[in-house]
Amino acid sequence: MVGGALWTAIDLFVGLIVGPILGRLPVPARAEFSARFMPKMVLLMPTLVLMTLAAGFQLALKEGNLAPGNPNHAWLIASYCVVGVMAVIALGVLEPANITVLVEMRKQRPDGEVIAMLIRRFIYTAGITGLMQVATLIIMTREATQ
């Protein structure tokens, strides 16, 4: 539960507080901040996500929520689908772009066009991940109130 809370809290904090502040900073400051911030996030977030998913699955198994007759079973399958969509976006689009931006920023002469193009990926996928966050909240609420 702590893992899930940390995951959502960090996600919202970065998206709603850090992101907009970063967007208003001058480009060199943004690059400087990102070059120090991203390596930590690349280490922290996958670990947190993996631990949360594994712990949540074990908890659901122990509490019998995975049994076919359990009223939460269908909602848990829906949550797997949500996690699946987020995993494909995170592993296939966001993380490669994150690491590439990081590598680009460490070059002697970073290519602003490449960085801008990769950052556009975040904007394109932000809508989908935002929807998935809302879906997660709905599923969690539903499961807690069954």
């Binding site: 993996l50 490669p96 590439t100």
Partner: protein, 132 residues
């Protein structure tokens, strides 16, 4: 802009199929899952991953040193992740054919993610973006 083969797209499709197969398998826990659909998805995923690997091996003027630097580190990270997921399945008493299928899926997962990351990193360190 230099046109590269659709390596990232093929690998992401392969990854997506593995995720769908994993969801199918996990949705049956703690019962024994039917293996036909996950096995078919895994086979298609493996074919896509192999195609992507083949296309990758034919690339010229590519930042291979950058590719392998990113690939090995990512492989270490995703190898650990896949190992932990595998451990969770073993701990949940998954045995026999389902466990074998899960292991194959995890191996593809542990290879796909580093390939996408390393390819994306290396393509922007290769011509025309940089001299390799």
């Amino acid at each position: 802009m230099r046109r590269l083969p659709p390596i990232a797209q093929l690998t992401v499709c392969s990854l997506a199929l593995i995720v769908i197969g994993g969801i199918l398998m996990a949705s049956y826990v703690p019962r024994q899952p039917p293996l036909a659909a996950p096995a078919a998805l895994t086979a298609v995923s493996a074919a896509l991953a192999l195609t992507s690997g083949f296309l990758l091996s034919r690339l010229e003027q590519f930042a291979w040193s950058r590719f392998f630097l990113a690939f090995w580190w990512a492989l270490l990270a995703y190898g650990i992740s896949a190992g932990m997921i595998g451990f969770a399945f073993v701990r949940d008493h998954t045995r026999g054919a389902p466990l074998a299928l899960v292991i194959v899926m995890l191996v593809i997962f542990a290879l796909d993610a580093p390939v996408v990351i390393a390819f994306t990193v290396a393509r922007y360190s290769s011509p025309p973006y940089a001299s390799s």
